[in-house]
């Protein structure tokens, strides 16, 4: 029987990717101009976590690794229905790539006694999808990525996931504890209820956790423990296109013909 689970949901505050401007002179991103929002795929992870709690009982904790401003996304998660929120914050985390990020979240999951860690498929600011399998690897847990639907097999003490694979899907059963990355857009995230929203905005304070609190040394995290670094950035020249408007399908066919596109 699978019951009374401690379910952790990783959430991240990211710049709204629809609103990021690029300075035309320097080519650098003006990320400060973009509003900070909850990473959209994380909403699907939150919904899956709340559905899982409905099935098994237990509690759902939202967890975010970031600066104190990330409290805003924890508030949103609590308003959606999470029981509590954890802010993993420490100057030592600055510059972390996916290796120490997944180490940090794994250490927090361990310290909090999590049975399941749910994440979104990827974050929209870096689009790697590497953190969920990274957490599973650090903890030596099972992993289920690109999950479209999640069920509980009470008899086998397992979670069962329908995963999106190239050209189809597969159904995979995994022992607990497990890390689950939910495919983007695969469920309908519930809206915040009014009373949870009032609670989240007025009373909720996240539990704050530092590197030392979860047993990590400063040199195990952050840029000093990140194998990768950004070596350079260059703007990409836009591809030149004709940008010609045509008025009819006849004209369109003529235009295609003239390009000499051949079979």
């Amino acid at each position: 029987m699978v019951e009374n689970l401690t379910i952790l949901v990783g959430v991240k505050q990211v710049p709204d990717d629809d609103e990021v401007d690029i300075d035309p002179d320097t080519g650098h991103l003006d990320r400060a101009s973009a509003p900070a929002i909850l990473n959209r795929p994380d909403r699907n992870a939150l919904e899956a976590a709340l559905e899982l709690r409905d099935e098994t009982g237990g509690e759902v904790l939202a967890i975010s690794m970031g600066p104190p401003t990330a409290t805003a996304v924890l508030e949103e998660a609590v308003a959606m229905g999470c029981d509590d929120g954890v802010l993993v914050t420490d100057r030592a985390f600055a510059g972390s790539d996916t290796w120490p990020t997944s180490l940090t979240l794994a250490a927090a999951a361990d310290a909090l006694g999590a049975d399941v860690v749910l994440c979104g498929e990827e974050t929209t600011d870096s689009s790697t999808g590497q953190v969920p399998p990274g957490i599973a690897a650090h903890l030596d847990w099972a992993q289920l990525t690109y999950v479209e639907a999640l069920d509980v097999d009470h008899g086998a003490d397992r979670l069962v996931a329908r995963r999106d694979v190239e050209g189809g899907h597969e159904v995979v059963a995994a022992d607990l504890p497990v890390v689950v990355a939910v495919a983007y857009g695969e469920n309908e995230p519930r809206p915040a209820s009014l009373h949870r929203k009032i609670y989240a905005e007025n009373e909720f304070e996240p539990m704050e956790v530092s590197a030392a609190d979860i047993g990590l040394d400063e040199d195990e995290v952050g840029i000093d423990a990140s194998p990768t670094e950004v070596g350079g950035m260059e703007t990409v020249d836009p591809v030149e296109r004709e940008r010609e408007r045509v008025e009819s399908t006849d004209e369109l066919l003529d235009a295609i013909r003239e390009t000499g596109v051949t079979t």
């Binding site: 690029i22 080519g27 991103l29 790539d97 290796w99 997944s102 180490l103 870096s126 689009s127 790697t128 999808g129 590497q130 399998p133 990274g134 599973a136 690897a137 099972a142 992993q143 995963r163 999106d164 694979v165 190239e166 050209g167 189809g168 899907h169 597969e170 159904v171 995979v172 059963a173 995994a174 695969e186 040199d219 195990e220 840029i223 000093d224 194998p227 990768t228 670094e229 950004v230 070596g231 950035m233 260059e234 703007t235 990409v236 591809v239 296109r241 004709e242 940008r243 010609e244 408007r245 045509v246 399908t249 006849d250 066919l253 235009a255 013909r257 390009t259 596109v261 051949t262 079979t263």
Partner: protein, 342 residues
């Protein structure tokens, strides 16, 4: 260069470029062959061996084909526990191989399976892993320069990994061209010790259904459908049929479940380079445009005259796709495909 990092290694002790050959039931994904061809250009520069890493059950033929497509050697882990793919046994096997053989670079296709595998195995190796690359190169010191589009493709970021090995990257499918097999190529095929015991695995695949195995990266003509179809694919499929084109889709359409994810174009999908790309009901978000910008000729059909897709198209027609598509399909059929496409 910064000081010594946690987990840093003596990089001189690592050599060779490995390519993970992704196969399911003996069928190899074309991205694996694409990586082998591109990695060949790297090893020709560095003088290292190009090694195909083949994990599966009954995969001798796959290993032979890897040699024919450019590998100097193949490492083969062959056992029933490796079919179908699961992250935990594949991860254990990879960990053992990396510890014993110290590869310098490991390249993996950026499919769901490839990303699931790469994210898992980079951790115990303390490897540097870059996601979704579209260009790779090595500098004069042998460091991998892994380039990936960032921020909707407006920027190309170069990611380096100076102190850790292996240097790993997942590569977007369709970016590189596969080499044809050369039956005269020879290379060593080595069966490695299988270190995984099925009784120790923590996952089980209960069902696997793969129906749609279309490879849009190879298509000469593509008709791509966006959210504007509102779930009615009929007119777009009909146009694709008239043009003898593959159907592709934007992310919105895949997220709605209207079209399978293997046909998704753009960031987190595939890069395509057809001769003709017809974008139907696609608004033209940068994340989509990034995956189709290498098309020779782009045609846009959209009812919104201000849709950004028109900025990225050679020819645009403002109109209702439910009228334009059937009309266009009818004209193409009436005049013949060869007529239209020259």
């Amino acid at each position: 260069m910064s000081g010594e990092k946690a987990g840093a290694v003596d990089v001189d002790e690592f050599s060779d470029v490995w390519v993970f050959i992704e196969e399911h039931d003996g069928e190899v994904l074309s991205v694996s062959w694409e990586l082998l061809a591109e990695a060949r250009t790297l090893t020709d520069q560095t003088g290292e061996d190009l090694v195909a890493l083949v994990i599966g059950d009954g995969v001798d033929d796959v290993a032979r084909e890897a040699i024919e497509r450019g590998a100097d050697r193949a490492l083969v882990a062959d056992a029933p526990v490796f079919e179908p793919y699961r992250a935990d046994p594949y991860g254990e096997q990879f960990r053992a191989l990396v510890e014993r053989r110290n590869p310098d670079i490991v390249l993996i296709g950026g499919t769901h399976t490839g990303r699931d595998f790469a994210g898992r195995v980079a951790v115990p190796a303390h490897a540097g892993l870059t996601a979704d690359c579209t260009e790779i190169d090595v500098d004069e010191d042998g460091h991998l320069q892994a380039r990936r589009p960032a921020f909707g493709g407006n920027v190309l970021a170069t990611i380096v990994c100076e102190q850790h090995r292996p240097q790993m990257a997942t590569i977007r499918p369709g970016v590189f061209e596969a080499a044809d097999p050369d039956p005269d190529r020879t290379g060593e095929i080595e069966q490695v010790d299988v270190v995984v015991d099925d009784s120790e695995t923590v996952t089980a695949v209960r069902e696997r259904t793969v129906g749609d195995t279309a490879d849009i990266t190879e298509a000469e003509r593509i008709v791509a459908v966006g959210a504007g179809c509102e779930g009615d694919l009929g007119p777009v499929e009909d146009l694709a049929d008239a043009l003898d084109a593959e159907l592709a889709a934007s992310r919105a359409v895949v997220d709605e479940g209207w079209v399978d994810g293997s046909r998704q174009v753009g960031q987190t999908g595939k890069t395509v380079r057809p001769e003709l790309y017809v974008a139907v009901g696609i608004s033209g978000a940068v994340q989509h445009v990034e995956g189709m910008n290498d098309s020779d000729v782009v045609v846009a059909i959209n009812d919104d005259p201000n849709a950004p897709i028109f900025e990225h198209a050679d020819y645009g027609i403002v109109g209702d796709l439910f009228e334009v598509c059937p009309d266009l399909a009818e004209r193409i059929r009436a005049e013949g495909l060869a007529e239209v496409t020259g």
